[in-house]
């Protein structure tokens, strides 16, 4: 088995970051997330042992705000001088299975079903993903219940923490080519991988989609949505929420159009210019969010838009818990 000594991780990142922007899980005070290796103070800030960092790396491939193209305006004039395609080479190093699966969701949303989103496609094509297998699930983790194997992230290479070394497993062709470039830092070693510790929460997701298909008008949504104040925090923290807005910034005759993360929790999200709104009430929006994640996405892409990372549970100011919601849905035995 190929392994990399833990002491060689810093030299590896130093080397990689000469050619690519390398994003690593980091704890900075009370904040944690994926930060560019070059912006860090070396080894003491890398947190490969952390499970889900507070911020998922979704902004690496899908920036919170992203310039799309420049515009110029004048009397009767409207032109688009430049389109911004971000071709920088990137590496996401140490992503967990839940966040890696969210990238698979993005790949399906942005690259399939008739249209390829050129902004995402360009960035994705130039990004290598190094997964970090999870053997000790956290308190709010439930990826296994959502059909995800925590020790086998969707990645080009997967590393497995085995004491003083990481086992190094190239998964894709890209991963094999990448491995060849760093071969001198790897060595062969016989070792056993750790045992996956049990999840504190496990449930059977089978049947939830079919159940929800008959529950759009169910009275349970009143009760489930009651604590929600539509703050949208869950949508921003969610690694797989992909909804966006397109807006413009203009100074005088020059400016640019950009897209930015948006949230289905907000009234304006679906408010129409003519005054109509198909989801006018808080409860309508709450229901749409959970149905999108648990039913509609599966109907379109064959798997749910929730990867069990548990962030929405940790950050909801009013204690809304998607695991409880799934359990409640499963308990509904009479369809009204």
């Amino acid at each position: 088995m190929q392994v990399i000594d833990k002491n060689k991780i810093v030299p590896l990142l130093d080397r990689l970051s000469k050619q690519s922007e390398v994003f690593v899980p980091t704890v900075k005070g009370s904040e944690s997330g994926f930060y560019s290796w070059n912006s860090l103070n070396g080894a003491k800030e890398i947190a490969l042992e952390a499970l889900n960092v507070y911020h998922s790396p979704k902004n690496v491939l899908f920036p919170q705000t992203e310039r799309m193209y420049s515009i110029e305006q004048g009397k009767q004039v409207f032109s688009i001088p430049d389109t911004f395609q971000d071709e920088k080479s990137r590496i996401i190093f140490g992503i967990r299975a839940c966040d890696a699966k969210a990238i698979t969701c993005f790949d399906d949303v942005f690259l399939t079903h008739g249209y390829e989103d050129s902004f995402y496609a360009t960035r994705r094509k130039n990004t290598i993903i190094i997964g970090n297998a999870c053997y000790q699930p956290g308190a709010n983790c439930f990826c296994s219940s959502m059909g995800i194997n925590p020790v086998q992230p969707d990645a080009d290479v997967v590393i497995h923490d085995a004491g003083t070394v990481y086992a190094w497993e190239a998964i894709t062709v890209t991963g094999q080519q990448f491995t060849e470039q760093v071969q001198d830092l790897l060595e062969e070693k016989d070792l056993g991988l750790p045992q996956l510790k049990p999840f504190s929460t496990e449930f059977d997701y089978d049947g939830v989609v079919e159940k929800l298909q008959g529950m759009f008008d169910h009275e349970i949504w009143h009760e489930l949505a009651e604590p929600c104040m539509n703050c949208g925090t869950c949508t921003y923290m969610c690694p797989s929420c992909h909804c966006f807005d397109i807006q413009v910034k203009i100074w005088g005759d020059k400016g640019y159009r950009f897209r930015c993360w948006d949230s289905c929790m907000y009234t304006e999200y679906t408010a129409e210019a003519g005054g109509g709104n198909p989801r006018p009430d808080s409860q309508d929006r709450f229901r749409n969010r959970f149905l999108h994640k648990l039913e509609f996405f599966t109907e379109r892409y064959d798997y749910p838009l929730c990867t069990g990372c548990g962030r929405c549970i940790s950050v909801c100011p009013n204690g809304i818990n998607i695991i409880d919601i799934i359990k409640r849905i499963k308990e509904v035995d009479k369809i009204v």
Binding site: M68, Y69, I71, Q73, Q76, V77, F78, S79, I80, T83, V109, F110, H113, G114, Y115, E116, D117, S118, F119, F216, H242, C243, F244, D245, I246, V248, I250, G255, R259, D262, C264, Y269, T270, A271, E272, A273, G274, G275, G276, P278, R279, D284, N288, L291, H292, E295, F296, F297, E299, R300
Partner: protein, 277 residues
């Protein structure tokens, strides 16, 4: 055709407004083509384009595409973007991207009698199908057009409604306005009740309807009452859109995105979706 920005679907091409016609006090027709001539891409009846001024983008159903000559969009002033659109003059450059959506099933309807039912600006999308039928007149049977608006002034495409379309062979045009007016000697009342009064026989017919959501809902009920089965009824929906390509998330009804899976749905398809439109 000049240039479709197919590689970068979110980046508009630029077209020029070659004519502007007032249809009603708040509906204006915009005729666009590329500055170097031709249309940016080909739009089928019922498909939409994302039009933009520097200040913003909005999705509009293409009211008609005349060959490679021009595209026509009839746009009602309802919000910030449309207000700005109503202030532009001939020669203005617009951003455009598309075509979006499935469009009307013009092929599947061949050989059928057609019943078009529209309210207000809802005639704008249907007009592309109506004109397509007239252009391929022998492919379709009898054509009935039922159209209503709040007032006479609010009726779109008056020349076609009162002069051109009634001259087409085997065609009837029925027009109604919501409230009586001194100069108006036509029908007065809402579209769904006029529809029930006319009671068109469903045999061999396809009904296509568009208008305010509340009108569509009542028209669907009326058609059902009159014996139209779900596969005979077609409507076109709209919701707020940003991307037009099924990525940005907001225009879903259930698992369907209006921008790519719609905007045209049969009643059969609508029944499988949540009532959230």
């Amino acid at each position: 055709m000049c240039s479709c920005n197919c590689e970068q679907p979110l980046v508009p091409s630029i077209v020029e407004v070659i004519d502007i016609v007032d249809e009603t006090p708040d509906v204006r027709s915009f005729y666009v083509k590329c500055s170097e001539g031709g249309v940016p891409y080909s739009v089928q009846p019922g498909q939409c384009s994302m039009l933009s001024l520097p200040a913003g983008e909005g999705m509009f159903s293409c009211t008609w595409q005349e060959g490679n000559e021009y595209q026509h969009y009839a746009i009602k002033k309802v919000g910030l973007l449309t207000e700005e659109l109503h202030s532009i003059e001939i020669g203005q450059k617009l951003g455009i991207r598309g075509p979006y959506g499935n469009g009307f099933p013009v092929e599947a309807c061949k050989g059928k009698d057609m019943l078009f039912i529209a309210g207000g600006i809802g005639l704008a999308p249907l007009r592309s199908f109506i004109k397509y039928c007239f252009k391929h007149r022998d492919d379709y049977g009898k054509i009935d057009i039922l159209y209503g608006s709040r007032s006479y002034a609010d009726l779109c495409f008056k020349d076609e409604l009162f002069n051109l379309w009634p001259q087409e062979k085997n065609t009837q045009v029925y027009v109604t306005i919501d409230n009586a007016e001194p100069e108006w000697d036509g029908h007065v009342g809402f579209v769904p009740s006029y529809l029930e009064e006319l009671n068109p026989n469903p045999n061999g017919k396809i009904a296509v309807t568009c208008g305010p959501p509340i009108m569509i809902k009542f028209v669907l009920q009326s058609l059902e009452k009159m014996g139209y089965i779900d596969d005979q009824v077609i409507t076109t929906l709209e919701m707020r859109m940003k991307c037009g390509i099924g990525k940005c998330g907001r225009c879903n009804v259930g698992s369907q995105y209006i921008c790519v899976d719609g905007p045209v749905f049969t009643r059969t398809q609508l029944r499988q979706l949540p009532q959230e439109w």
